[in-house]
């Protein structure tokens, strides 16, 4: 009898356990925030789906650190990377030299590296062709004779050991005027003449587009940056068919091919998805159900409207959830701060310090704790919204004239009643002003959610920056501004309802 029961339970458990296996596996794909990575990510995602798996794609997740941490922490399953970045940056401490050593070190972290995709996208330095000709610069060594040149490097290149610091040492470069900026903006800078030398990736579409000269690395400084895929070890077990489909990319993409794909996005204003789909169709024979190429004008408009609508919902979700929790926490904190001096100083000091952390840094700090997606964004926005509300609640209560507080106490009202009937109504205007400021800041800061896969208006803004597509940027920027104005208007209405009439009238004389 007993045995039969156990068997039955075990059978039930097995059925329950086997149910998820029937569902198609989910492959979580990410890419770093530049065009080439985003295109490769699209390919991975499409190939996974072509095998029948589902895929979730976080396009342009951020820089190397962010993508790597997300992969190691199991937030994502796969993303495209470069061998040079792995040996020189991610695992630089290990001083890896051979391919076998690299694979071994990655395996210890549960990560597998694919075979090269077929192209080497290494760093290079570039100048305007005519400018280089005038100064007679052909190689990086030649730069040493022109200390007046203005250098502008992508922030990553500025910092990494295999970037500018090492390059400067190797070539003994004398230039002092070196600024760090977004890679896409660097191109704008060199075209306009604001910069003279920038770092390039050898597969960048802009090299031909902007007539740039790639300077020869005559001392052989830059290591190979062969494109590979990094994926979690478990992917081979959880989604073997999807992985097999994805790995069809190996050894298939030449540098020329990659440059052409990059140009499609950067120059011909196609989407990354379109460029990826076309490559998959023509070169890998994988048919991707992408109808984007044949869209009419009106269906385009409605697609844009639809995506703005979706992002509005995401943005509202980020903003309202973080703001609501901030209000719920901050008002009581402000009240206690106004009543207990020492506690108040500690609270105001702490939320003040939180405010000084640069917002992007705060978003990134929270990733190890909360992963990627909306959760760290909401936590960061929550923390940013606290200060304004706490401080204004505190100030509103603190500024109530002492004779009014005394009158309320002398009436014989208990403290809760004094708070509810007298102090909070008197502080209402200040508290509301605090919430209003917090909201407007929150709506703006929430765009950074686009950077860590939280969605919202930040997504088109970041994509637009990386594609150099002003229209795309405006798709995020305009609705964000409208939402901020709308929130402000809403609060002005609320003020009329919530601030007592007696506080809004002019003094009778």
């Amino acid at each position: 009898m007993m045995r039969r029961c156990i068997l039955a339970i075990a059978a039930c458990l097995m059925i329950v356990h086997s149910v998820p296996a029937a569902e198609p596996p989910l492959v979580r794909v990410a890419s770093k925030s530049f065009t080439e990575s985003i295109i490769l990510g699209e390919m991975i995602s499409e190939l996974a789906e072509s095998s029948g798996a589902k895929s979730k794609y976080l396009a342009g997740l951020g820089g190397t650190r962010l993508a790597w941490e997300a992969l190691v922490n199991g937030e994502i399953d796969i993303y495209p990377e470069y061998t040079g970045t792995i040996t020189q940056e991610i695992l630089a401490d290990l001083k890896l030299t051979t391919d076998a050593e690299t694979r071994q070190a990655l395996a210890e972290r549960g990560i597998v590296m694919s075979q090269p995709l077929g192209f080497n996208n290494t760093y290079a330095l570039g100048m305007r062709e005519r400018h280089a000709e005038e100064l007679g610069i052909r190689t990086i060594s030649d730069l040493g004779k022109h200390p007046q040149l203005k250098f502008g490097f992508s922030s990553e290149f500025m910092d990494r050991s295999d970037g500018w610091p090492g390059l400067q040492k190797k070539y003994q470069l004398p230039q002092q005027d070196v600024s760090g900026l977004n890679h896409d903006l660097a191109y704008k800078g060199i075209v306009s003449g604001a910069l003279d030398v920038i770092d390039l990736y050898t597969t960048d579409a802009e090299i031909a587009e902007y007539k740039l000269r790639v300077l020869e690395d005559d001392l052989g400084y830059f290591p190979a940056y062969d494109a590979v895929l990094l994926y979690r070890h478990e992917l081979a077990e959880d989604a073997p068919r999807a992985l097999a489909a994805i790995l069809k990319m190996q050894e298939q993409i030449t540098a020329a091919e990659m440059r052409r794909l990059n140009a499609k996005v950067k120059v011909q204003n196609q989407t990354e998805a379109q460029a990826a789909a076309e490559f998959l169709r023509s070169d890998l024979g994988v048919d991707v159900d992408s109808e984007e190429g044949t869209r009419s004008f009106w269906s385009n408009v409605s697609a844009v409207a639809h995506s703005i609508w979706l992002r509005t919902l995401q943005h509202l979700y980020l903003t309202s959830l973080s703001l609501f929790s901030a209000i719920v926490v901050a008002i009581p904190l402000g009240i206690v701060s106004a009543k207990r001096k020492t506690f108040g100083q500690i609270v105001l000091g702490t939320v003040g310090i939180v405010q000084t952390v640069p917002s992007l840094a705060l978003f990134v700090f929270l990733i190890p704790v909360f992963g990627i997606g909306p959760v760290p964004a909401i936590v960061a926005l929550f923390m940013y919204s606290l200060l304004g509300i706490v401080r204004n609640t505190y100030a509103g209560l603190h500024d109530i004239p002492p004779q009014l507080q005394e009158s309320a106490e002398a009436l014989g009202l208990p403290w809760m009643a004094r708070l509810r009937l007298i102090e909070l109504p008197l502080a209402a205007r200040s508290i509301l002003a605090g919430i209003k400021t917090a909201t407007v800041i929150n709506v703006g800061t929430a765009t950074l959610g686009g950077f860590i896969g939280a969605g919202g208006y930040g997504e088109p803004i970041f994509t637009g920056i990386s594609r150099g597509d002003v229209g795309m940027i405006l798709q995020g920027a305009i609705p964000a501004a409208v939402m901020a104005l709308g929130a402000q208007g809403l609060f002005e209405l609320a003020e009329r309802r919530l601030v007592p009439k007696g506080l809004r009238i002019k003094q009778h004389d």
């Binding site: 004779q403 009158s407 002398a410 009436l411 014989g412 009202l413 109504p425 009238i505």
Partner: protein, 270 residues
């Protein structure tokens, strides 16, 4: 209507249980190094107006705030009807006291009517009891009924003090404490209100403590005047006592310090 036997006896018994409505014995108060009030004894009796007078910062307002428990004495004790304030439910004691301050202390977000009825409403009085009480108080304080729906900022200074008095009297307290209630008003209104206020005190027959620095006002209201200087009581008595039998030269100086409109220049009396 004469009191019933029961009411009479309960009054006698009450009288027997404690000697004074309010009694301060040996109270002192300091803020840091600065002593505001030296050890002081003072008794306040029902049906009598006691005026606390003295120069600014002499401790008269501190004395008043001690009586209603807004501050606690460093030493000594304050008793209300024979019970120590520190040992009783301070809120219910405050419900039996009315407190009026210089600018009225009206809550600007509430209409005059809501200011007056605030505590009664909080205590759950039915509207059928609140409305007639307010009408009665408006009559007593000569406050126009149409002003009841106005906000404090829409009222004149004199009207605000009337509303403040109504609020203090709403629960028909046993003690009325007033801290310079007419201090912020211009002379004409002040003079009118003084007459009305004395009328009200006489009608109500409550224990009244009034703080002022104006000797004329003190003489006008006070059944008993308490002169305070630098945290100590200098003399207690009527204005006549002060003039006939001053306790020390300061008393005489203080009484004579207020100029009559007729002596126009210093030294003109000689």
């Amino acid at each position: 209507m004469s009191p019933t036997i029961n009411e009479y006896w309960s009054a006698v018994l009450k009288r027997f249980r404690f000697r004074f409505m309010l009694e301060l014995s040996g109270v002192s108060k300091s803020y840091g190094e600065k002593q505001i009030l030296a050890e002081t004894d003072l008794q306040i009796d029902a049906g009598m107006v006691t005026v606390l007078i003295g120069p600014s910062g002499c401790g008269k307002s501190t004395l008043l705030r001690l009586m209603i428990g807004l501050i606690t004495p460093d030493r000594g004790r304050v008793q209300f009807e024979g019970a120590d304030l520190s040992g009783t439910d301070i809120l219910s004691v405050r419900h039996r006291m009315g407190y009026v301050i210089q600018d009225g202390g009206l809550f600007p977000h509430l209409t005059a009517e809501r200011n007056v009825a605030l505590l009664a409403r909080y205590l759950g009085w039915p509207e059928s009891r609140i409305k007639p009480r307010i009408t009665e108080l408006a009559e007593l304080t000569h406050f126009p009924v149409e002003g009841l729906q106005r906000y404090p900022l829409q009222l004149s200074g004199g009207q605000r003090q009337r509303v403040s008095l109504m609020r203090a009297l709403m629960l028909d307290p046993d003690v009325l404490l007033l801290d310079e209630p007419l201090g912020a008003l211009d002379p004409l209104i002040r003079s009118d209100l003084q007459v009305e206020l004395r009328e009200i005190f006489r009608t109500l027959g409550k224990a009244v403590v009034l703080v002022t620095h104006d000797i004329g006002e003190a003489g006008f209201f006070g059944d008993r005047i308490v002169l305070i200087r630098e945290g100590r009581i200098v003399q207690t008595g009527t204005l006549e006592d002060f003039m006939q039998r001053p306790a020390d030269p300061f008393v005489t100086r203080f009484i004579n310090a207020q100029r009559s409109p007729w002596d126009t220049a210093p030294g003109s009396e000689s």
